[in-house]
């Protein structure tokens, strides 16, 4: 049984035709299911948990990358596979997973190519893409049995998924149970002189003399140092398209 989780913005009139097209397509492909509209007062995790008891096996998120991350975070520990129907063509995650936007994405859901990817915890919060921050004075990244002391002003990008295919530094594999840590001096990325660093690890902690470095993760959530990053015991089962980039 399929569940369709709609972003709250889909109540707007401008999405009516798109939703009609999606619902018609799911009927044609025989993957129709119960619809749930996200809102601030209800917990989507509880809804999915109850529906699994009734036989639900797939939760399809209809919305944008932010909607997808929100639903995954609330239901990752549930035994369910996630599908994704992006409502606009700018979705970076959809592009990475090989999912076209709009009702055509229903074909991908129906195709059921399921990939299992790593999910990471940062101080018990979940992220699947990456985290970014700029180092302050005496920022230290502890990795395994060593620590890396970073100069003030360096850009740090810790990736599970490499959405920028043009960046030769980070060849991230979302299934290798490792994060890629890219440290670069601003403006020196492709400099001949090696001003960048690249390390890989499974367990990372970040501290700073100034304990309030804001770290942005999955592009829209923020957490302050000190932080500890670990591989989550839960993996993300997601339906992907043939054109996926991993």
């Amino acid at each position: 049984m399929y569940l369709y989780i709609y972003d709250s913005c889909l109540k707007e009139k401008k999405y009516k035709n798109l939703l009609n097209a999606i619902e018609n397509r799911t009927t044609d492909l025989d993957i129709k299911g119960k619809i749930y509209q996200l809102n601030l007062l209800k917990n989507v995790g509880n809804f999915i948990k109850e529906e699994i008891k009734k036989g639900a096996h797939t939760a399809v998120i209809v919305g944008n990358d932010k909607t997808l991350s929100h639903v995954i975070e609330s239901s990752l520990n549930q035994n369910i596979t996630f599908g994704y129907i992006p409502i606009d063509s700018k979705s970076e995650l959809a592009n990475y997973f090989g999912i076209p936007s709009g009702e055509i994405a229903c074909n991908v859901v129906s195709g059921r190519i399921i990939e299992q990817i790593d999910v990471w915890e940062i101080n018990q919060r979940i992220f699947i893409r990456e985290l970014n921050f700029v180092s302050h004075k005496n920022t230290i990244i502890k990795i395994d049995a060593f620590k890396v002391i970073i100069e003030k002003g360096d850009k740090i990008n810790i990736k599970n998924i490499n959405l920028e295919n043009n960046n030769p530094l980070c060849i991230s594999d979302p299934k290798d149970e490792k994060l890629e840590i890219c440290i670069e001096k601003p403006g020196k990325l492709f400099s001949k002189k090696s001003q960048h660093s690249l390390l890989r690890s499974k367990t990372i902690s970040i501290t700073s003399e100034d304990d309030s470095i804001p770290i942005v993760f999955d592009d829209f959530q923020t957490i302050n140092t000190p932080v500890k990053i670990d591989l989550s015991k839960n993996k993300l089962n997601i339906i992907v398209g043939g054109n996926r980039k991993f």
């Binding site: 049995a145 060593f146 890396v148 002391i149 100069e151 060849i171 001096k185 001949k192 690249l198 390390l199």
Partner: protein, 136 residues
Amino acid sequence: MFKKEDMHNIKDTETIIGESVILEGDFNGHGNVVVEGKLNGSFSTDGHVLVGENAEINANITAKSAFISGKISGNINVEESLDIARTAFIKGDIKAQSIAVESGCEINGNVKIGGLGDKQMQINTKARNEKKEELE
């Protein structure tokens, strides 16, 4: 062999320790590693290590093969070939299956070439001075 011209071939490099960072502790890596920054502690990898001109390492180094053009205080133990560039400054003992030393580098320590120990020699002088003497 992991030559200097390969140092920016990022695709083949598992780890890069850039100029802007200092690494402290025990580094046990896999694959090819480029060191351009500072490293204090110990270092080992099952691949190649390239130590850049500006690198400063205070650690014993163990690797499959190595190209050194920076400053190292510590022993170097290389399973296969070791290339030492003219800009290298090494204070410590060296052990490798084969060694290529460029004129101008500085080595202070014992050098052991091959596995049997029959080619051991003591180098406590600048390679460039040795070359000058040879010419005279």
